[in-house]
Symmetry: C3
Subunit: 339 residues, 3 copies
């Protein structure tokens, strides 16, 4: 693939400064790009790499226009422009047309136009798959699932029976949607299983990473809103409701019946305990645990930050005595006032 | 499915107050139930929803009898009664009978009566599967595995060779039982792999969620006791021994050679470092790390609780200086005494 | 398998003291070994088990020579010698020769000598698999992947297109290598997906556990160095570079663009935030979060240690007021000095 820089400026709707005839053949990071590649600068921490870059052109903000030796595409938001450029240079062989002979497709399924089903996939009775959707190799689509148009289940994705996906949903390998939630009532020392009659309902334009699990609801459904982006190895418990356009980073663990608002960010390896509500616009930092509801938007954290283990061992001894220490401080203050 | 309320009271062994002729067609949450559904009240936090519920009947404790406008089933433990009711209304198509033609079953396997094996599953030489057990689509059962009667391996479960399951074990999609543990000896800068000759032995009535991994032992087996319930994405290292009826919530990470007692609860995303012992009846809260053995039953926690990130940044700076702060407090106390 | 103790001493290159004619049939832990088994003592915490062991021989350091009643193999590093012994006694049926008839192998693949491909595996166009490598049942090898010689992909491993593995790489079940990283640019409230044109490049002698995910890079590759050992359920984000011989324990979560040095250890369930650099020789303890770059080798920790929940609740209340407490202490100190 070769695209002239002037044509790229048009496609990306940005200003060109430099050699519009230059042919761009791909993308490269500032530090490792070679001639013929287009790079970008978004995070100012990398501005020092501008002077030495070998990229033929750089997507850049107005502020760095003067310091860039190469041709440039001037953008109000270089990262968004770069994201759009990745789509232009993305070449991936489309899924093979039709149903692979080694797929096991039940006779009672409804398939839209141009559906692709990969080798060794299993489609159970009553499932419906929308036009242009691709089920990669090794997937299992449970009975009665409904998959909207233009979805991609990449490889070895498991949907339990009755799961519903909207339009343009992408799910990466080995994710499991719709297994029973973890619900037991304890009768003396024995556990009584709660059978899950709800399902999972996923909106439009949702991305789900690899190895993620989303459990079905007890009576109502577990609901993932439109535009939600979920990374790898995330766990979402039964009856959660995730608001539109919320982002959940890798390894986050969301317990059951958690309601998360719209436009939230759950950081990597963060968590939320069950039966709480998190307001719209909340950002939770990495490996932080949300242990009670959050009503106000804003950024929230838990944890201690890392330090040398030798110092840390002394610190946590003090930490565990913090209540006594606070009482001693109060005692001193009182005595000091009396004197 | 339709069951008269009077019949439900019999089946669930609880007192009926109200219209026994009413036909119940399913279950619903207090807030979202429609007429014809049975609901329940267990957590008093939801008592406010009683007055407005449209459910035809509610499973309820004596204490709330007067405040419930609908017919009621009076239970000493409404949550246990509700759990039993979910079983009555659970309709799931049983696994198809027999061996799917697209399964690859080695000729030297022993299959009990009424065993079901799904499409694209692989059963290796010498495996034995007990009567009434169902191996879902896409599973791999390693050589010499022994699976007891009435087990269900839902979809795409992998058992490595030699793993043994008791009776009535349920495993959800993409869980992996019996991979090698993570064991190396370090010889200078190079690692020497420890080959694992033990296996994994799982008791009766064990449930294992989706995407969970349980490693085989080095010489002895990794052992999961009877009635243990394990949620999604849990990791259990080599040579762990998990006591009967213990509950391990989602994303918990248990290192190698950890012995956990009976009737424990490991909270979501909690962890335990290797080579420690946890007594019977210990409950560890969410995202807490058990960093040394626990000898007494009770509840244990670690972590800091979440707070606004702006405050948290100031707090953790102080935290990291906590040892110096404690010494300064001691210094003040000494000088104060002298005066 | 039976090996005379004298022969074992030769094979393991250690000194024998005792009955060299004794036949060893396997390995056993000190406490549970039976006659005919070889055991070992490495961790002094288990020295008390020496006197009562029924093992026929024990691998042991010079220091414990006198206290061992059985025959012994005297080693400078008993754990390394034990690790070597596990290889001698490891009997695993090799993978079946050739291509299973139920595998779906594209016609345009290059297979080295003695390659084994298991049932229901899918090998896409243009993939190359080196001599002596074994692809277990249920794997999906994407288009254009390059797998070196003597690799083992145990069961149900997914490689996305274009992933490259070196020599002697072992990957356990349900791991996913090369899915797209989690990258979006946010344009107002909408996310613009960043397409990932890089891949994943894995060195020689790398082990990867079960259920682990390693994402492909945006423009450059994600790189795993030689001799790296990665446990189960680890997440490694796009564009990470992991140095040679580094060890990453179970459930660790490494965000994108993290550079980890050589000979590091990331503890179980530890984490690292994105875009940081960790020096050679850093060890991070279990469930600790690395939240900024680390320039010096050594051991690092975060967290609080566990305690009884009743005490912990009081302590974290104080923790959240730690900044105010520090200011009050400063106030007292100032007033005290004035007096």
């Amino acid at each position: 693939m070769r695209i002239k820089l002037s044509r790229l400026a048009e496609l990306l709707d940005v200003e060109l400064e430099g050699d519009g005839e230059c042919e761009i053949v791909g993308l490269g990071a500032l530090a490792s790009a070679v001639p013929g590649q287009l790079s970008f600068l978004s995070n100012p921490a990398y501005a020092g790499q501008l002077a030495g870059t070998r990229a033929s052109a750089v997507i850049i903000g107005e502020k760095f226009r003067a310091s860039c030796p190469a041709s440039k595409l001037i953008s109000l938001d270089p990262y968004v422009t770069f994201a759009r450029a990745t789509a232009l240079f993305h070449v991936e062989a489309g899924p093979p047309a039709g149903i692979h002979p080694a797929a096991a497709v039940h006779e009672e399924v409804r398939l839209g136009k141009d559906v692709s089903i990969g080798a060794n996939s299993v489609i159970e009775a009553g499932a419906a798959i929308g036009a242009g959707s691709a089920i990669g190799p090794g997937c299992v689509i449970g009975a009665g699932c409904e998959i909207g148009p233009r979805c991609q289940l990449r490889r070895a994705v498991v949907l339990y029976p009755g799961v519903r996906l909207g339009r343009n949903v992408q799910i990466d390998a080995n994710s499991v949607i719709g297994a029973d939630g973890f619900g037991y009532a304890f009768d003396g020392g024995k556990s009584v299983k709660i059978h899950h009659g709800g399902s999972v309902r996923i909106g439009d334009d949702v991305d789900i990473g690899a190895g993620t699990t989303i459990d079905r609801g007890v009576m109502d459904d577990t609901v993932i809103g439109n535009g939600v982006k979920i990374d790898n190895q995330v766990q979402i418990g039964h009856n959660c409701v995730i608001g539109d356009h919320t982002v959940i980073c890798g390894c986050a663990a969301i317990a059951g019946s958690v309601v998360i608002g719209r436009h939230c960010v759950m950081g990597g390896a963060s968590g939320a305990v069950g039966h709480i509500t998190i307001a719209d616009g909340v950002e939770v930092s990495a490996m932080s645990l949300v242990s009670r509801s959050i009503a106000e938007p804003g950024r929230y954290s838990s944890g201690t930050g890392h330090m040398k283990t030798s110092r840390w061992k002394r610190v946590i001894t003090r930490f565990q005595e913090l209540d006594e220490m606070a009482l001693r401080l109060q005692g001193l203050e009182k005595r000091f006032k009396k004197d």
